[in-house]
Symmetry: C2
Subunit: 327 residues, 2 copies
């Protein structure tokens, strides 16, 4: 019998939870809306209930002796040794919180359940999920990039997560690519997230469509309500040949390529796994990103450069969280 | 009796070589002009002679049984496992060259001397020198930045060099901070070296002095021959209160701070050791760099941030090269 674990992905909107078999992958998964209203205590109670229910259900068909524990990916910086979460960006009212121990206590007291808990940053969990079960399996070292509302990163070196001394490594969205630029993210100028986060993509599209009305390029999207534009619209428009949308994705990919080049020259990482909702635009992003990545590095460093799509979609976090328990 | 080694710093202009005692540091050092005219074979022969002479001299007062070997820091990417040097930027006629084995062979055949040789990248050697003998001794993880003609970097994690899979990690000068900017370095736009390498500093100073003639700031340097400006002049002028020079160093420091912030958010490194000739400007650079570093990161990541000057000056490479042998 192979080992099994629970993998939990704690997000500001939803909690995703799965039963993961070490060999066969996800056996069952569920999704819940995050109870952000009651602060840390409310979420801890919610997590305890979810974990206990899932554990009890799964224990009927999986040998409890082979249970490896519950793994949790959470937003914010995580001290994985002490199980402490700091400043999760999407969870109001949290600052520094001993999530692992509080969760274990709550499960013991409210659910009568004593199980090992591992926690890590959500982007790290997603990267580790891809490393063990997804597109990163063939790579010893890689950077996992999550393109979505934010731009996240997780670093895998020698098949292990690279977390840094404070657990904040891989904060790719804060990398500055245009230090005198106009775009802002958390008050910081020209970060990758300020340039190609979801908001930035929509804002840039609106500007490009406006400009196209007096310029040489044309767009099917002229006259649309810009406030309702979504990356998905822009993806469909580009596939339909819309010039402005094509140019937009080219720009997004190129900027991503600059960011990847910075990681490549600094860390000597040459494999990149790209996931997150925005990465659904696929080659619209990947092709210009790869071109720009190469253009941004000396030819002597081109060997082995590769950009590949993530394989686990929005299940990467659950996979990786569970994999923390098998580690 | 403590161990001793030879530490060699191979540069495009000079070869610096030292006898280094593991406990007491440099016992003697010498400097030679690099014989670049005869290509790799010429330099290998020159290195073999230098090493053999130094070894024989030092063997009179140091116990040969305690000799740990010769370490060599070289420009370009170094495969430390196989001892192969790739594309050293300042050595014309080299591409990919098995420097370690060629050097060992040459020493055996021409000097009758068989000694262990370790090689590494020169920026890595300088970082390791500071880690073992200099400003990095108190830091577990740090980035060593060398500000000079170029901008170099070496990364120490857990008190060991972080080299990356291909030996090219820490190429800080190629980090892109202004992806649409006008400045170029090896054809790449807006790299740190294109912004604050020696050439860029002098060019920027010339532009600022010109602009000051029609503007509100004033400069003692107006009327100077800009082609003869050096960082040293600009440092002295700033110390004397020259407004343009002060603004220049503020800009250099700020841009460096952006680069350090990128390393901090990506790798969770919060200690920075700054060396190289340009770093002689000291607090003219360090103060704005530290301000910008903090401004470029979330307050939750400010803990432990520190910028300190290197302590070993132009001997860091020799120290680190020797330390490779003690490792």
């Amino acid at each position: 019998m192979s080992r099994w674990a629970l993998g939990i992905d704690l997000g500001g909107t939803a909690i995703k939870a799965a039963v993961v078999c070490e060999k066969r992958g996800i056996l069952a998964d569920r999704r819940f809306l995050t109870d952000t209203a009651s602060g840390p205590a409310g979420i801890v109670a919610q997590l305890a209930t979810i974990i206990a229910d899932l554990y009890r259900d799964a224990s009927r068909t999986n040998e409890p002796d082979n249970f490896a524990g519950a793994g949790l990916g959470a937003p914010g910086a995580v001290d994985t040794v002490n199980g402490v979460l700091s400043y999760p960006p999407n969870l109001p009212g949290w600052s520094i919180f001993p999530l692992r121990d509080e969760l274990r206590n709550c499960m013991e007291q409210q659910q009568g359940l004593s199980i090992p808990v591992s926690i890590d940053n959500d982007a790290n969990a997603a990267a580790f999920g891809e490393a063990v079960y997804g597109a990163g399996r063939e790579f010893r070292d890689f950077l996992m990039v999550t393109l979505g509302t934010g731009v996240g990163g997780g670093i895998v070196l020698d098949r292990k997560l690279y977390r840094g001394a404070h657990g904040t490594a891989g904060e790719l969205g804060f990398m500055i690519l245009d230090f005198e630029g106009p775009s802002l993210h958390a008050g910081i100028r020209g970060t990758l997230e300020s340039l190609i986060g979801k908001k930035a993509i929509v804002a840039c599209a609106s500007r490009m469509i406006e400009a196209s009305q007096s310029g040489s390029t044309s767009s099917h999207l002229c006259g649309h309500d810009y406030t309702k534009l979504s990356p998905r619209h822009l993806e469909q428009a580009a596939i339909a040949g819309d010039e402005v949308s094509l140019a937009l994705w080219h720009r997004v990919g190129s900027i991503l390529g600059v960011g990847l080049a910075n990681v490549a020259v600094l860390m000597d990482i040459r494999k990149f796994v790209i996931g997150g909702g925005i990465s659904g635009a696929g080659n619209l992003i990947f092709v210009p990103a790869f071109e720009q990545l190469r253009r941004s590095m000396l030819p002597s460093m081109h060997e082995g450069l590769e950009i590949v799509p993530a394989q686990l979609g929005n299940k990467a976090g659950m996979y990786g969280a569970a994999a923390l328990c098998f580690g």
